[in-house]
């Protein structure tokens, strides 16, 4: 009876409009099930057996990507209750624990972030140990380094959002590094040179640190700016680079495969 229902469903136009492959009894249909699916086809139809050997890959790259998805999901849920303003930021985080159902979303997001940083470093270590950076994979290694930097920047920008003492001072210290940049920092090594006569071209009101914080110190401007970077700016760039990164792995012989 159930089988008949299943067979019937299978034959409807609705089903065939969504799923363009037949039942998975032929190799062709099994391949099509992956190939004709926009989500699944980012992964190759077949992988080598060595590709799933945990001893080879540690699966750290995959776990990092999974954690990224976890962060996107938990972060999106947090956004429904958080205002990136000086008046509300701290109390919203408290409320996410005290008032919002489950009360653990902020913690999940934070633990996911810690775990993602750990796994991304382990992934880097594994790639180094297996020599998977050697020619022609050098470009992908560099893309991976960029992704590492973006992961750390995500952690940095997200750290400010609870707007507590830890957040404010950590970002004060971190952003103070920007004012020591050569040429674009007002306390950088070439700062005394950046003047036209008496007019200071690069000062506290227009250097790189000012652009980062939207102000002369960590305040409302920095909070909003870091929020936008954390939720949209950096994830967009990271997604693009991840697409390049995964594509490169496939094109260079698949995970854990010879070139």
């Amino acid at each position: 009876m159930l089988k008949q229902l299943w067979e019937y469903t299978r034959s409807t136009q609705v089903w065939n409009s969504i799923f363009r492959h037949g039942p998975m009894d032929t190799a062709r249909n099994r391949g099509l099930a992956v190939l004709s699916n926009v989500f699944l086809h980012l992964h190759p139809v077949k992988v080598r057996k060595s590709g799933i050997r945990l001893r080879f890959t540690w699966c750290m790259g995959g776990i990092t990507f999974f954690l990224f998805l976890v962060e996107v999901a938990t972060g999106l849920l947090l956004m429904f209750y958080y205002h990136p303003t000086v008046e509300y930021a701290y109390v919203d985080i408290v409320d996410l624990r005290e008032q919002v159902p489950l009360g653990v979303m902020r913690e999940l997001h934070r633990w996911g972030a810690h775990a993602m940083v750990i796994t991304v470093w382990l992934h880097m270590l594994r790639v180094f140990m297996t020599g998977s950076y050697k020619p022609p994979r050098e470009f992908n290694w560099n893309v991976g380094v960029l992704l590492l930097v973006l992961t750390l920047l995500l952690s940095f920008t997200g750290y400010l959002l609870p707007w507590d003492q830890l957040a404010m001072w950590a970002v004060t210290v971190g952003s103070n590094m920007a004012r020591a940049t050569p040429l674009v920092g007002h306390e950088g090594p070439m700062a005394p040179l950046m003047k036209l006569g008496d007019i200071q071209l690069v000062h506290a009101g227009n250097d790189a640190r000012f652009a980062l914080l939207a102000g002369r110190f960590v305040g409302a401007g920095a909070l909003l700016r870091f929020y936008v970077l954390h939720c949209v700016g950096i994830p967009v760039v990271a997604t693009i680079l991840m697409a390049v990164h995964f594509w490169r792995v496939r094109k260079d012989g698949g995970i854990s495969g010879p070139v």
Binding site: W169, V173, N176, F210, A214, G215, F217, G219
Partner: protein
């Protein structure tokens, strides 16, 4: 054809090499020249006279010389094309203008976006404030009444001179505390210590506390201007507005 072998080498080296001697177009003339497209008769006639000089160079450098010969011949053959069509040379330069203007527009967009990131209006507390009359401050004392609101210590020396110390530790930016009993500023973050003059003497602070510009306003009150600060290590404490002498 005496230069047949050379041309063959050119023909196979660059598939886009047009036949530079007048007899090439017919594919049957040489099997290796099949890769070159068949040209119109007008083109063939126009390139005939030029073929003799171009062929020699085409032998060694197939693609560029061939490419140079093609637009030249094409320009000569342009008269044979329809009225609304642009010649190949014209097409290339049109594209050049288009690409240049596109790149310029992109560059302008990038500059505009960069400027967008620097706000014109800051929602920050006022950077200049009046701190009361000089008489309000005891000689030989460090006053912390504006530390919370404006981040400044007002210090008055025995000889009556007043200066305003920026309450930002020069190590990593925390707010130091004034310890009256121990006669020193002490930073709670990493333990940097400063004398009441602002000179650093212990802990990781690399340089003394900075001074804010301090002047007398028209009504006789002290005016502290946080937009200008003076550092000791650059010798700026000798400048007039780092110290108020009353």
């Amino acid at each position: 054809m005496t230069d047949g072998t050379a041309r063959d080498g050119g023909g196979s080296g660059g598939a886009l090499t047009p036949p530079t001697d007048g007899s090439a177009p017919a594919p049957a003339a040489s099997p290796k020249a099949v890769a070159t497209p068949i040209r119109s008769d007008a083109y063939k006639a126009a390139s005939g006279p030029a073929a003799g000089t171009v062929t020699g160079s085409a032998a060694g450098v197939p693609a560029p010389a061939g490419g140079a010969a093609a637009p030249k011949a094409a320009a000569q053959g342009a008269a044979a094309r329809g009225p609304g069509q642009v010649s190949r040379r014209g097409f290339l330069s049109t594209l050049g203008v288009a690409w240049t203007s596109f790149a310029a527009a992109c560059a302008a967009g990038a500059v505009a976006t960069n400027r967008f990131m620097f706000p014109n209006v800051l929602f920050e507390p006022p950077q200049t404030f009046k701190a009361g009359l000089p008489e309000d401050y005891l000689t030989g004392a460090v006053d912390t009444r504006f530390k919370e609101t404006f981040g400044v210590f007002i210090v008055r020396e025995e000889d009556g001179a007043i200066y305003a110390l920026k309450a930002v530790c020069t190590h990593l930016g925390c707010t130091p505390n004034w310890l009256e009993a121990e006669n020193k500023f002490k930073c709670p973050c990493h333990g940097s210590g400063f004398y009441r003059t602002g000179i650093n003497y212990e802990g990781p602070a690399p340089r003394p506390l900075e001074r804010y510009r301090i002047v007398l306003a028209e009504d006789g009150q002290i005016l502290i201007d946080k937009t200008r600060s003076f550092t000791y290590e650059k010798g700026e404490w000798s400048q007039a507005e780092s110290l108020l002498t009353v």
